[in-house]
Symmetry: C3
Subunit: 165 residues, 3 copies
């Protein structure tokens, strides 16, 4: 679509940066949060950067995985007005009040009646993989790492794995 | 949003676990499925764990990629009632009966009329990256790896790559 | 769901392919685009393959990260009619004309009034991780890598990291 019109140019290419052929390592940490609302967005950027710094890995990948199906991890700008819109949008896209079998005792033994939380978590995803450059998480100027709680208040854990050299 | 109110504490941190600086390996496998309905959800967790065990890699990353645009791979709880809701939700979010150019012979030579399948696959994503810990896929208690067929019945392939030490 | 009926067979398994235990490397590049419409889809497949070839890495992972919250990177078939449907679907799912706090001067100092762009970018995701096999990006026959602009025209950058052996 419109590909013909797209002016695609490689404006700038960083000098080749090839890490030395040795020293591959894997560093694992669990990071925990206590949430205090049913739907809550948390800025996880600084916590993740802390883990990356501790890992001593300069160049590679950091993989984040929230260990709960009713949560998510994604990127967006951390601005109050926008975060309000994110919440509104997701609550509107998946309506808590709709009929869901997961909430119906005839079909399900789940007492939390949290089908909406599951569907929001599935849609947004529970994993996020980011680049590590110069011992920090690579993020654009307006990108923050957001942990989303969709069925709080709860105690939540994220597994953080840094790998590289 | 509510960040000020969020009580964020690092309750527990696993002891530093740094894998030895040698032995990085990459292990590749193709795993196949035959589906028998247009929309079908398949629990792929055990198959993926089998590949991870065979790889001999203890610590690292497993990357899953379904090789078809009308499929997806994601995480959710494997519960019948919820899986019914997942299917209902996705079929409602992208309506098969809506007008789509991809299904219109004036614009498209695709005879499968599967625009809805493409849009569902795109929304849910065809790749998933998970951590490998102690020679197994790291998953929370209620997390299963789900392969979604959106245009079956078909024969489907997933490329599984395990890398690490 | 229907898992009992699913005939799951491992039709074909590639011979074990284990890369040698040495030579792990990381290769980084920034790739830039100039977009010329508010919503625009760009086929990035060839550009990414070019980076992978230059990296000299045969077996591993390529990680793509668009550095802007109002963009996304995902996989779909590159067909004009379908790309039109993708655009229509996303513009319908997140309505530009709806009330959003991010666009309201009472709550936000953002002058771009681009809440819809943020929500589309968040939904589709700004990162994509793919396998590198035989010095090329692994993609199914109909899979293309698509960079989506949701708030153009702008100058956009994607960080591409190839790691492996």
């Amino acid at each position: 679509m419109n590909s013909a019109k797209a002016k695609i140019t490689e404006i700038q290419a960083t000098p080749e940066e090839v890490a030395p052929a040795s020293g591959f390592r894997v560093f694992n940490r669990i990071v925990d949060w206590i949430t205090n609302e049913r739907t809550q967005l948390i800025d996880a950027t600084e916590r993740i950067n802390e883990v990356v710094r501790k890992s001593g890995i300069r160049n590679g990948i950091v993989h984040l995985q929230s260990l709960h199906t009713t949560t998510a991890v994604f990127i967006n700008e951390w601005q109050d007005a926008l975060l309000h819109d994110v919440r509104t949008f997701l609550e509107d896209l998946v309506q808590r009040g709709d009929y869901w079998r997961h909430n119906d005792p005839v079909y399900s033994d789940c007492e939390r009646k949290n089908a909406d939380s599951h569907l929001r978590g599935m849609l947004m995803g529970q994993t996020l993989c980011l680049q590590v450059r110069n011992s920090a998480v690579l993020l654009g100027s307006w990108q923050s790492i957001i942990l989303a709680e969709f069925d709080g208040p709860r105690s939540r854990s994220m597994s953080v794995q840094v790998s590289g050299v």
